[in-house]
């Protein structure tokens, strides 16, 4: 079992990677980090798992059918925040209107966190989608496969 | 005023819409629509009102990007042409009631509409638009004649007509850029600075459609190849629209006098030796245009009146002659003089109407030609243009020869080729169908009406006139000329000096592009193709070798070519960037 060392390492690293991804995600509004990096890191955890333990087991946890939904939902969260600010009377993505009374720009923080969540979700889903597409060697047979 | 039409509707649009509508109907429906459309257009035109020369009624003026469009300009000159175009359209519809194909019927009306639109156009671009529509709609009528010859002739016709349009457009563009007015008025061909190239360009464009010598062959080439009905439609509009344009733009331009004089003379000889009677008529049409061009060149009010009057009567009698020949074509299948003769026995009405047309065109007193043509010769005489005057007299004798005598004589008299005894008892051809007879009768009636009562025509003319055609002197001189010419004909026939008809085609200027031109073109095409093939083969060899070299390293065939394309294009992009960078750094 040449994969043993790999598999053990993956098992050990899997949770910390996800934790790190979450850290990057939520640190995004203060320092370096944010949804994009977090999403990639999160996806990397699952990709690593799939590499070690096979695609099937990974797809049991995250079925391929979820991914388009994830992508769409991510974008919707992002854009929805913008529209929400517009509905509140501000410009598109003008977060200040979320908490207009705050002196610490709390609105900005809230807005950015929500937006970054959307970005993270979309990016993670996209990364996984790409991985699934390449890893599932046999493409879905098309109607007029040649 | 017509209640359900917008006040400023262009009569041309009425006719064109009707022409398009006709496509959806059968022969009778087409006829009814045609008659209604012509009537509507005519009423509409007169409800708009007519201004005197120099003070036209204008409608629908719009300005686009500094250019003023005047779709409708009604003054005496434009209305007299539009009127006769309406009459011609009506005659065409009736003549083609049974015989016109769908294409001929609808395109004929569109064609008539475009001629009317051109005559009423007040600005140059509108004129150009109708100029082109006339070219394009009429070519379908030629093609409807059927057969390969008609198709080819139509293509030649189209090329020449479109060329005229392009030259006109170029002239207009240059004229406008130079700051000229967009209104279609008089051009000055020769100014202080010599010949004006812009005016020359426009004159050339008009000249093509007016059949100036050497530019004329499209007419003789294409009209006889249309069907019997189609030729009648064609005979009326294109050339007379050009005459109108000349009268409007180049009245009194001296160069037109020698041009017109030449035009009256040379077709006479071609008509003499031509076998196809409809081609004879085409030459005769050219000759008649010469009278008008000459008159426009003289340019006095009397001469312009003469040109307009001549255009007016000419359309009626030339249509009448073409209708007669069309009826003959319908009943016998040919208009070759060598195959015809003696038809007066079974087609008496056609014969009578054709003779009316023939006498009109020869300018017998009491027929319409006399009333108009004498104005032109008188105008030449009054300006003391001896040479032009002599040429016009000479041409008058020529007209008598080819249209006055040759057409009716060879078609209806001469040698009876349809006698049952000669054709194993086959019956003679029948009289023309009723609709054709009605149309011919209408045209003949107009010829006689104008001939008997000229004020009908004089009232329409651009300038006020106190001209009287029927003085004893005019009648006596004209009859003298005609009768002695006929006497000459009788003597020539009697002594067998009159040339017999021979099956043939006669070369004209178009030989230059139909034979050597065509050969040169074909040779050029062949040569280009050969050179191209040689280069291509060489390239293919070289690239083939290079590719097979690379292919040995990489992969064969399609894949290589495919990736090579992308890479090559990327290379192109890099090259463009390099050029842009270089330019940006060096400039």
């Amino acid at each position: 079992m040449g994969h043993l060392i790999l598999r053990v390492t993956i098992k050990l690293l899997f949770a910390p990677i996800i934790l790190f991804a979450l850290y990057v995600q939520f640190h995004g509004d203060y320092g370096p980090g944010g949804g994009f990096q977090a999403g990639v890191t999160l996806a990397a955890a699952f990709i690593l798992h799939a590499l070690g333990f096979g695609l099937d087991r990974c797809q049991k946890v995250i079925p391929p059918g979820w991914l388009p939904v994830g992508m769409a939902l991510g974008v919707l969260i992002y854009a929805g925040t913008g529209i929400y600010t517009m509905l509140l009377g501000g410009n598109f993505l003008d977060y200040d209107v979320i908490q207009p009374d705050s002196h610490h720009h709390a609105g900005q923080h809230i807005g950015i966190i929500v937006v970054e969540l959307g970005v993270g979700l979309a990016v993670a889903a996209t990364m996984l989608q790409i991985f699934y597409a390449f890893a599932a060697r046999e493409p879905e047979p098309m109607d007029d496969a040649w | 005023m017509i209640p359900f039409l917008p006040a400023e509707t262009n009569p041309a649009i009425i006719l064109m819409v009707a022409g398009v509508l006709m496509v959806f109907f059968g022969p009778r429906g087409r006829g009814i629509i045609g008659v209604i459309a012509v009537a509507l257009g005519f009423l509409q035109m007169y409800s708009l009102g007519v201004g005197p020369m120099g003070d036209a009624q204008m409608y629908g003026i719009t300005e686009v990007a500094g250019y003023e469009f005047i779709p409708l300009r009604l003054d005496k000159l434009s209305v007299v042409f539009a009127t006769i175009f309406h009459i011609a359209a009506l005659v065409n519809v009736i003549y083609g009631w049974q015989g016109a194909t769908k294409v001929e019927a609808s395109m004929g009306i569109v064609y008539a509409g475009s001629a009317i639109g051109g005559a009423l156009a007040g600005d140059l671009l509108t004129l150009f638009v109708f100029w082109e529509i006339a070219a394009i709609s009429s070519v379908f009528i030629i093609w409807a004649g059927g057969g390969h010859a008609a198709f080819k002739a139509g293509m030649r016709y189209l090329v020449i007509q479109v060329m005229s349009g392009l030259l006109l457009l170029a002239g207009i563009a240059l004229h406008l850029v130079r700051g000229g007015s967009s209104e279609f008025g008089a051009f000055k061909l020769v100014g202080e600075a010599g010949v004006d190239p812009v005016a020359a360009l426009i004159l050339f464009a008009f000249g093509i459609k007016a059949c100036f010598p050497i530019l004329h062959t499209w007419l003789q080439d294409s009209y006889p190849k249309a069907s019997g009905v189609g030729a009648v439609m064609l005979s009326a509009f294109t050339t007379k629209l050009a005459i109108y344009a000349l009268a409007r733009g180049f009245a009194g331009t001296d160069i037109l006098i020698p041009i017109g004089a030449t035009m009256t003379v040379f077709p006479v000889f071609f008509a003499l030796i031509e076998n196809d009677l409809r081609k004879v008529l085409a030459y005769s049409l050219n000759n008649q245009l010469g009278f008008m061009v000459c008159a426009i060149g003289i340019g006095t009010p009397l001469a312009i009146n003469g040109a307009a009057a001549h255009a007016f009567v000419h359309i009626t009698y030339k249509a009448l002659l073409f209708m007669g020949m069309g009826a003959v074509l319908l009943r016998t299948g040919t208009t070759k003089a060598t195959d015809l003769g003696g038809l007066h026995k079974s087609m008496p009405w056609t014969t009578a109407f054709t003779i009316v047309g023939a006498m009109s065109i020869s300018a017998f007193p009491l027929f319409s030609g006399f009333v108009a043509k004498s104005m032109i010769t008188l105008a030449a005489a009054e300006e003391h243009m001896l040479l032009a005057w002599l040429v016009l007299l000479f041409a008058s004798a020529g007209v008598l020869e080819h249209s006055g005598i040759k057409i009716p004589y060879f078609a209806f008299f001469a040698h009876d080729r349809f006698a049952p005894s000669l054709r194993n008892g086959a019956p003679r051809p029948k009289e023309a169908p009723l609709s054709m007879l009605i149309a011919m009768g209408l045209a003949a009636f107009l010829c006689l009406l104008v001939g008997f009562y000229p004020p009908v025509l004089y009232g329409l003319l651009p300038y006020e006139t106190d001209y009287h055609a029927y003085t004893l002197e005019h009648v006596a001189t004209q009859m003298q000329l005609l009768m002695f010419a006929i006497f000459a004909f009788m003597l020539l026939v009697r002594f067998k000096l009159y040339p017999p008809e021979v099956r043939s085609v006669n070369l004209d200027v178009d030989w230059f592009w139909r034979v050597p031109g065509r050969k040169a073109l074909m040779a050029a095409v062949q040569m280009t193709a050969d050179v191209w093939h040689a280069i291509w083969a060489a390239l293919r060899d070289i690239t083939g070798q290079v590719l097979s070299g690379i292919g040995a390293v990489h992969r064969p065939g399609g894949l290589l070519a495919r990736y090579w394309t992308v890479g090559y294009t990327a290379l192109t992009t890099a090259a463009v960037l390099a050029v842009a960078l270089l330019l940006a750094f060096l400039s």
Partner: protein
């Protein structure tokens, strides 16, 4: 007016315009009318009712128009026919056999065109 190349038709097939009487009439009528108008012109000239624009050689001369008609016509016919030597070609010169091909009936809705020589109508 028949000649050798054109076989004679039966006498009963002749119309009035082809009878010798009619032809004889024309031989009197045409020059007669011409002379009548020439005379009329001379009378008008004598009475100074004409309005000539050019000299004696031209329209001041009362029979000028007659001469012009006769001479022009003869000139056109006698000289013009020599043009054939230059320009006359066989009928199929340009288009080959296509020139004499029958017309194609392009519209079956209209059948009038297809009637050939001497065939009865319908």
């Amino acid at each position: 007016m028949s000649d050798e190349q054109h076989p004679d038709i039966l006498p009963e097939e002749r119309s009035i315009f082809e009878t010798p009487g009619w032809i004889r009439f024309m031989w009197f009528f045409v020059p007669g009318t011409g002379l009548f108008f020439a005379l009329m012109n001379i009378v008008l000239a004598v009475l100074h009712k004409t309005h000539p624009h050019f000299g004696w050689l031209f329209d001041k001369n009362p029979v000028f128009y007659g001469i012009v008609g006769f001479v022009s016509f003869s000139f056109i016919v006698l000289v013009g026919q020599h043009l054939r030597k230059i320009v006359m070609r066989p009928e199929d010169y340009y288009d080959g056999p296509e020139a004499t091909m029958p017309r194609i009936n392009t519209d079956d809705e209209v059948r009038m065109r297809s009637i050939s020589l001497g065939e009865t109508d319908e």
